[in-house]
Amino acid sequence: MHALHQVYRTFFYPHSFRLALPDVWAGFQLNLKMMVIAEALVLVLALALAIVRGLPGPAARPLRALAIAYTDFFRGTPLILVAFIVGFGVPGLQLGYISSQHVIVYGITALTLVYTAYVTEVYRAGIESVHPSQRAAARSLGLNYWQTMRYVIIPQAVRRVIPPLLNDFVGLQKDTAIISVIGVGEATQLAQQFSTQNNDFASLVAAAVFFILLTIPLARFTDHLVSNREGRERAQAF
């Protein structure tokens, strides 16, 4: 009984909860902001990078190599390091405009750099999963390479990768918390401050609840898309 009370007092004490909630909520809006901007950037940049990686011909070899180097580098580097390097390193360069941005800009940059690398691979898998006969059919009709990509390959690829893409976005949403290390006053950081002040962890649980409430709808939506597609594919098999 004592132990249970201890758990309650440490993690779920309503008074601490209430005390922390307004500030943690305010901080969480920064998480939302970083998430939305980074996701929008990632969607576009990763698609561009995936297309570059798939460019045909020997002339495009240097571009392909650059794209590969990029994904290798940013998939292999922990986000927290990228955050430190961008968040502290770039301002230290004293490059005027580039070095004098708000810290949240560096946070969004770090998230975008890292997640673009992941999502590039997701897009690339999608593009490669479109059967070569689709490309042959499009090219045979007189469509050029770019028209074939734009109207035939990419629309099919994107449809197929929406579930894994949303999965990566769940990861991105949670990883906005890491950006606290460069001094963005987002939910995790404010919750931690409250935790120290109140000498309990209810504020951290409050922050966790916000993250969970955000990811559950996305996870269900992803499930829905997957099961929809499975249904369609079953229907086609008959």
Binding site: S140, G142, L143, Q147, Y151, V152
Partner: protein
């Protein structure tokens, strides 16, 4: 037959192609005069499909020359996109775009590469679909159509670009037997209307009926060619005889 005088519409000389060490086309010579139908017969792997795919340059050839309507396909400087507007191809597996409706499938290339406006392309597409009795399916997605319907849409999609020659690559091989006739019926109509066609097929009865010339391919070579009346009744080559008797045997069993 318009073989005299004018150069044939599709013209191949000494065409050879390798996949690695494997020679898939071996010094092919072939002439297809305008408004003629040439059928390619032969076992799977004899090179029929590859030959067709070389004519619209889906595949490159290592040796020889291919010309279509006076344009040298085998020239590196040829405008492939312009060439392909003149050369339609229909595939065994239909290859319709699954994310587009029937109407979108048919109008995509005319709108984006053929210089048609949306209205112009749609009007033309609906007229073509009407002709094959599928106008009511214009707004359906391909997975709602039967195999025979999909293949007829694929033919119409190729026709929408106004090609001067049509390449048909075993277009009935993936179909249930009861769906074959609706597709062959459409091809027969095209032949009667004077469309120039090169047809790779396993349907010997059909080849016999519509072909002006039949070519028997074996191991990448045209072993024998001639009018269907000769090829199907008195083939000269033992390999041709052997192939035809095996096919006829299989048809009897079916």
């Amino acid at each position: 037959m318009a073989t005299n005088g004018s150069t044939p519409f599709v013209h191949l000389r000494g065409v050879s192609k390798w996949f690695g060490p494997l020679c898939v086309l071996d010094k092919i010579d072939l002439d297809v005069p305008e408004h003629n139908v040439v059928c390619l017969i032969g076992a799977s792997g004899s090179g029929k499909s590859t030959l067709l795919r070389c004519i619209n340059r889906l595949e490159r050839v290592e040796e020889g020359e291919i010309a279509v309507d006076g344009d040298l396909v085998t020239d590196d400087k040829v405008d492939v996109n312009a060439l392909r507007k003149k050369v339609g191809i229909v595939f065994q597996a239909y290859n319709l775009f699954p994310h587009m409706t029937v109407l979108q499938n048919v109008t995509l290339a005319p709108r984006k590469a053929g210089g048609f406006t949306r209205n112009g392309a749609e009007g033309h597409a609906r007229a073509l679909l009407h002709r094959i009795g599928l106008e009511a399916k214009a707004d359906e997605y391909p997975d709602r159509l039967s195999g025979g319907q999909q293949q007829r849409v694929a033919i119409v999609r190729a026709l929408a670009m106004g090609p001067k020659v049509l390449l048909l690559d075993e277009i009935t091989s993936a179909l249930d037997p009861q769906l074959v006739s609706e597709v062959l019926g459409l091809v027969r109509e095209l032949a009667e209307s004077g469309m120039t066609m090169v047809v790779a097929t396993h349907e010997m009865g059909f080849a016999r009926e519509v072909a002006d010339k039949v070519c028997f391919l074996d191991a990448g070579q045209i072993l024998e060619e001639g009018p269907p009346s000769q090829i199907f009744t008195e083939p000269r080559e033992p390999r041709t005889r052997e192939f035809l008797s095996r096919v006829l045997e299989a048809e009897k069993l079916a």
